[in-house]
Amino acid sequence: MAKLELHNISKIYNQNNGAVKAITDVNLNINEGEFVCFVGPSGCGKTTLLNIIAGLEKPDSGEVILDGRVVSDTGPDRTMVFQEGALFPWLKVVENVEFGLKVAGVQKEKRRERAMHYLDMMQLTKFADSYTYQLSTGMKQRVAIARSLVMDPEVLLMDEPFAALDAQTRDLLLVELQLIWQRTRKTIIFVTHNISESVCLGDRVVVFTHRPARVKSEFKIDYRRPRLIEDTSLNIYARSILEELKGEVVAAIKEEYKEPDGKRDEQVLRDEN
């Protein structure tokens, strides 16, 4: 039995100009301890899918099954690291990490102990009593990861967590994340639009189509760890995924440039291509 199963997930949004299908018939199995990356063109719906797995949004059809039972509400068994950290500025760093534990009713000493354990893992021990405004973006994301890990989730969800970081911090965190994953053996779903990131991190990369999102193809990445983003051997994988993705990105752009009456702006498309 897979750790996480997605059965026939679909999601429709009702907007002013009609219903928009965000996700359609997504079927996927994620195994325990696997590091899976979701890639797809921007706006294709992969974040929506992640939200559905987390329980922040409800699917219009289909189910999310975790360890054999259906899950539909939010919970600390599927914690998420957001793109912009979403740390609470009124709490100290260590209090931020403790937040979920406090909600769950864990005792003060135990909370502190567990929070410090993960802060140590993220090399942020010295900053435990700082406030978030005193941290750099990279450090904030580390705290966000610690906060999610301290809950000992069944699945760790990550929504483009390194998208807002500068390249150097991101490269460092890519290695750190792999080391943490090897240490904790968590099941991780990592959403990104950056292909190099995805092949660097993932055991498997799932490519989604443009909206409405569907699983287009999957790539197994069989390469030693920890991987560095500049490893040239990863380029082969990256190129294949890029080919898959290119068609989807063009299709997404065509969708955006479509005239209201269905005609397409041919000149623009020719320039794009």
Binding site: A54, G55, L56, T74, G75, P76, R78, T79, M80, F82, E84, A86, L87, F88, P89, W90, L91, F99, G100, K102, V103, A104, Y131, T132, Y133, R147, M151
Partner: protein, 253 residues
């Protein structure tokens, strides 16, 4: 260095104003009934303080303000929270609150007098009606303006219902709530002065009216200076400070 030079600038500025005032008085451009000298105003202040009249009035006014303000905050925040939570409530009650907020506090005096009579309760009633609705709307805005990502993160960590409210909604809204409280306090102060002037039952507002009735411009100016001073002190020493602390901790500064 910067702070001292700023204080010196202000001292010089006010000293100049007093100097000009004294000069105008000595030039006898206006009759003494219209414009007393700074010295006369000073003497009035001192004698009023010595007899205990001034401290008593200040104490009465501040006590009424405090009580009214606390009640306004309590009711206002509760209303604002309720409106923020349920759209229907905002559409219905909210429209009423908006309307009531636009009524100048002085218009509540007749109801205050009739319902409560000529006493502290009546004055406090006017203070409350003059400021509660502003607090309600501020609270509503504060909660609606919470970055949604905080709520998503909190729900993701397992927070629900009441725990969501206390652990995230209130802390996240606090900077805006504090700004709202500052606003509300200024409404409350104005409402208080209005009420005291019309109720004519003790307090600084009453002193102001009484001063007019004995035709003492010196008293009038003296009381107005006290009113202004209290307003400044509370605003600068209390609210400004709180606002700054909260904003810097929340990273908004």
């Amino acid at each position: 260095m910067n702070k001292t030079s700023s204080i010196i600038k202000r001292v010089v500025f006010y000293a100049t104003i007093v100097g000009v005032w004294q000069a105008i008085y000595m030039a006898a451009v206006l009759p003494e009934m219209l414009l007393p000298s700074p010295l006369q105003v000073m003497e009035t202040l001192i004698s009023s303080a010595a007899t205990g009249e001034l401290p008593f009035s200040v104490g009465t006014s501040l006590l009424r303000l405090f009580v009214g303000f606390i009640i306004s905050i309590a009711i206002g925040v509760a209303m604002g929270l309720y409106m923020a939570k349920h759209k229907t409530v905002y559409e219905t009650l909210g429209s009423l609150v908006l309307g009531l907020q636009s009524i100048p506090s002085i218009a509540w005096v007749p109801i205050g007098l009739i319902w409560f009579g000529l006493n502290d309760a009546g004055v406090i009633f006017v203070v409350v009606t003059g400021s509660t609705f502003s607090m309600a709307m501020s609270t509503y805005s504060a909660i609606r303006n919470i970055p949604p990502i905080y709520l998503r993160a909190a729900r993701n960590m397992g927070a629900k219902g009441i725990s969501l409210l206390t652990s995230v909604v209130f802390p996240a809204a606090l900077p805006y709530l504090v700004a709202g409280m500052r606003h509300t306090w200024s409404f409350a102060w104005r409402a208080l002065m209005n009420a005291e002037m019309l109720f004519k039952f003790l307090g600084l507002g009453f002193m102001l009216i009484a001063a007019r009735e004995i035709n003492s411009m010196a008293h009038v100016i003296a009381v107005m200076i006290v009113i202004m001073a209290i307003g400044l002190v509370i605003d600068l020493l209390i609210f400004s400070k709180i606002e700054r602390t909260v904003e810097s901790r929340w990273g908004l500064r």
